[in-house]
C-alpha cells in the first residue's frame, strides 16, 4: 500500500479532467486567437471553461483571468493593489505573517520599492481576526491580502468578516484561496473579496494553471506583457488543455463538495484522534476552524526530514516544515509564526488527505507514524535529555 497524504502540495489529475483535456492536445489544438475554425473551437472551449470556473465561485465570467498557477495570480493581485494604491499616494499593505511565499516575497519586493508592510500576528491557533485588520487599516492602506486557508496547518481565516471590514473602509481586499477552492465553499459575493487566487493542481486539475478572480472595475496590472489574451491582462497563448482541465476538475469538486467535506472530515477526525495518542505531540492550528483535509502535528524530540523519509519507506507520502526539508536553516515560517520554538517546529509533520483517500489508508498512517516516532526518539539525544528530565518537555 502506498498512501499519498500530501494533497496540499499537489494532487493527482482527476480522470474526468484528463478526459476533458485530451482532445485539446492533438485534435482541437488551435490557437484561441486564430480566426480559423480550429482556433475558434479552442476559443469556445476557453469560454466554456471561463464560465465554469466563474460559476464555481459565483463570479461573472468576465471576472476570471487564467494564469500560470497560484503564484502568478498572487503576484498579479498584489502588484495590482500596490499600483492602484500608489496612484492615490497610498503605499501601505496589510497581510499576515504566515502567507505563502508567493505573497510574502512579492510584499518583500514592494517593501524595497518604498511600500510599508504590516504583517498581522496569527496567534497560537493560526487564525487572524477581522478586528486585527480593522485596527491595522490606515488612511494610506492600499491593500489587504489574507490567505483563505493556510497551506501548512489548514486553518481557515474569517475572510467574509475581513472582507466586510475592507469594504466598509474602502480598502481593496485580496485572498489567496489556493487551498480553499474545491475544498470548502467559496462564494466571492458572500466573501466581499475584490481579488481571489486559485490553482488547478490543488483540486485534481493540472499543474501550471490557475486563475485570478478580479471584481469588475478592478484594473489589473499585467505581470506578463504580450498579446490581447485575457482581455489584455495576461499575455501569452492560452494553455487550453490546462484551462479545460482546471474547469473540469473544479466542476467535479464543487459538485461533490458537501459529500466530500463530510467524508474527508470524518477521516481527518480519525487521523487526529489516532495521532493525538502519541505522547508529547501537538496538533498545530485551531481545532475547529480548519479545512477538512490538512493536519499538522509536532512530535517532540525528533526531526521532520528523517520522519518523512522513514514514512516514505513505509509507503506514506507526507511533508514537514523542518529546516532540512525547506532547504534553509530555519524551520517553516508558518510554524514559527504560531510561536513554536525552533526545536519543536523541526519535528513537524503535515498530512493532507482528500476524498481520494480511504479509511484503510488512514489506519495505515495511524499504525505507522507512532512506530516511526518511537524509533527516532529511541536514537535521539534530545529525547534522551527530555526523558531524563535534563530539559523540560515543551509539549
Amino acid at each position: 500500500m502506498y498512501v499519498y497524504a500530501d494533497n496540499a502540495a499537489t494532487t493527482s489529475l482527476s480522470k474526468k479532467a484528463l478526459e476533458a483535456m485530451t482532445p485539446y492536445f492533438c485534435e482541437t489544438y488551435g490557437n484561441a486567437s486564430s480566426l480559423h475554425s480550429p482556433g475558434q473551437r479552442a476559443a469556445e472551449a476557453l469560454q466554456r471553461a471561463r464560465e465554469t470556473v466563474a460559476g464555481a465561485i459565483h463570479a461573472d465570467f468576465k471576472e476570471i483571468y487564467f494564469t500560470g498557477g497560484g503564484s502568478e495570480a498572487d503576484n498579479q493581485a498584489i502588484l495590482t493593489g500596490a499600483a492602484i494604491g500608489a496612484r492615490k499616494g497610498k503605499k501601505h499593505i496589510i497581510s499576515t505573517a504566515f502567507e505563502h511565499h508567493a505573497v510574502l516575497h512579492t510584499l518583500d519586493k514592494l517593501k524595497k520599492q518604498g511600500y510599508e508592510i504590516t504583517l498581522l500576528d496569527v496567534h497560537e491557533n493560526g487564525v487572524v481576526t477581522a478586528r486585527q485588520v480593522a485596527d491595522a487599516i490606515r488612511e494610506d492602506t492600499a491593500l489587504v491580502t489574507v490567505m483563505f486557508v493556510n497551506n501548512e496547518i489548514g486553518t481557515i481565516q474569517p475572510i467574509a468578516e475581513i472582507g466586510a471590514v475592507c469594504r466598509e473602509r474602502g480598502v481593496l481586499f485580496h485572498t489567496d484561496a489556493v487551498q480553499a477552492v474545491g475544498h470548502i465553499p467559496v462564494d466571492v459575493e458572500a466573501l466581499n473579496v475584490d481579488m481571489l487566487s486559485m490553482a488547478a493542481h490543488k483540486f485534481h486539475g493540472p499543474k501550471g494553471v490557475g486563475a485570478l478572480y478580479a471584481r469588475r472595475g478592478v484594473p489589473l496590472v499585467n505581470v506578463i506583457e504580450g498579446g490581447q489574451q485575457e482581455r489584455g491582462k495576461r499575455g501569452g497563448t492560452e494553455n487550453i488543455p490546462g484551462i479545460v482541465g482546471m474547469a473540469a476538475a473544479l466542476e467535479e469538486a464543487v459538485t461533490g463538495l458537501d459529500r466530500n467535506m463530510a467524508y474527508v472530515t470524518a477521516l481527518r477526525e480519525k487521523l487526529i484522534g489516532g495521532l493525538s495518542k502519541i505522547p508529547h505531540s501537538r496538533l498545530n492550528g485551531d481545532r475547529e476552524k480548519r479545512v477538512p483535509g490538512t493536519v499538522n502535528f509536532c512530535f517532540e524530540g525528533i526531526e521532520g526530514e528523517s520522519l518523512l523519509l522513514l514514512l516514505d519507506a513505509r509507503g506514506i507520502a507526507a511533508s514537514s516544515g523542518s529546516a532540512c526539508t525547506s532547504g534553509s536553516l530555519d524551520p517553516s515560517h508558518v510554524l514559527l509564526a504560531l510561536g513554536l520554538p525552533h526545536e519543536i517546529a523541526h519535528g513537524s509533520l503535515r498530512l493532507s488527505i482528500d476524498a481520494y483517500n480511504t479509511e484503510e489508508e488512514i489506519d495505515h498512517i495511524i499504525r505507522s507514524v507512532p512506530e516511526v516516532v518511537d524509533y527516532l526518539r529511541d536514537m535521539s539525544p534530545v529525547w534522551d535529555a527530555l526523558e531524563r528530565g535534563e530539559t523540560p518537555h515543551l509539549i
Partner: protein, 150 residues
C-alpha cells in the same frame, strides 16, 4: 527519494552502532536542537585504540547517516588516527551529500573529536589544546542560504 545516494539511504535506514553506551570512556555531543541537529558519540578506548563506538542523533537523514558512517570509520582505529577523520572523508564514504547537507558530515567529524577530547579530559591525558581548535562546537557553521519551497 533521489535526494540522497544509496549509501546515505542505507546508513540512514539501517544505522550502524546506534544506541547509548553505558560504560563509555568518552562522550562527545555537538550541534543544537534549535538548528535541528545534535549528535552524541560514545567511544570505548583500550591501549590507545577505539575498540567500540556508538551514537545517538537528532537530525535529518544525512545527519543520521553521517553519524553511522563516522562510527564505522573510526571503530578499531588508534585515537590519533580518529582525530584525523575529516568531514570530507565522511561525505566521500557516503558517496557524497547534497551541498546544503555537508554540515552534517562536519558535525560527525566534530562529534568524534568531542568524544576524544572528553576521553582525554576524563583520563587526565595531556594534549595540545590546539589540536581541538578554539572550541569543538564553534566550527559547526551553516550558511543561511535562501529558503526553497515546495
Amino acid at each position: 527519494m533521489a535526494l540522497y545516494s544509496d549509501k546515505v539511504m542505507d546508513h540512514f535506514q539501517h544505522p550502524r552502532n546506534v544506541g547509548k553506551m553505558e560504560d563509555a570512556d568518552g562522550i562527545g555531543e555537538v550541534g543544537n536542537a534549535v538548528c535541528g541537529d545534535i549528535m552524541r558519540m560514545y567511544i570505548k578506548v583500550r591501549d590507545g585504540i577505539i575498540t567500540d563506538v556508538s551514537f545517538i542523533t537528532f537530525g535529518c537523514g544525512s545527519a543520521i547517516a553521517s553519524s553511522s558512517m563516522a562510527t564505522e570509520m573510526i571503530k578499531g582505529m588508534p585515537i590519533e588516527k580518529a582525530l584525523e577523520l575529516s568531514n570530507k572523508a565522511v561525505a566521500e564514504a557516503l558517496d557524497g551529500l547534497p551541498a546544503h547537507k555537508l554540515h552534517c558530515s562536519v558535525l560527525a567529524e566534530e562529534a568524534v573529536r568531542a568524544a576524544v577530547k572528553d576521553y582525554y579530559d576524563k583520563h587526565d591525558i595531556a594534549y595540545d589544546p590546539a589540536i581541538f581548535g578554539c572550541d569543538v562546537a564553534c566550527a559547526h557553521q551553516h550558511d543561511h542560504d535562501a529558503p526553497a519551497e515546495a
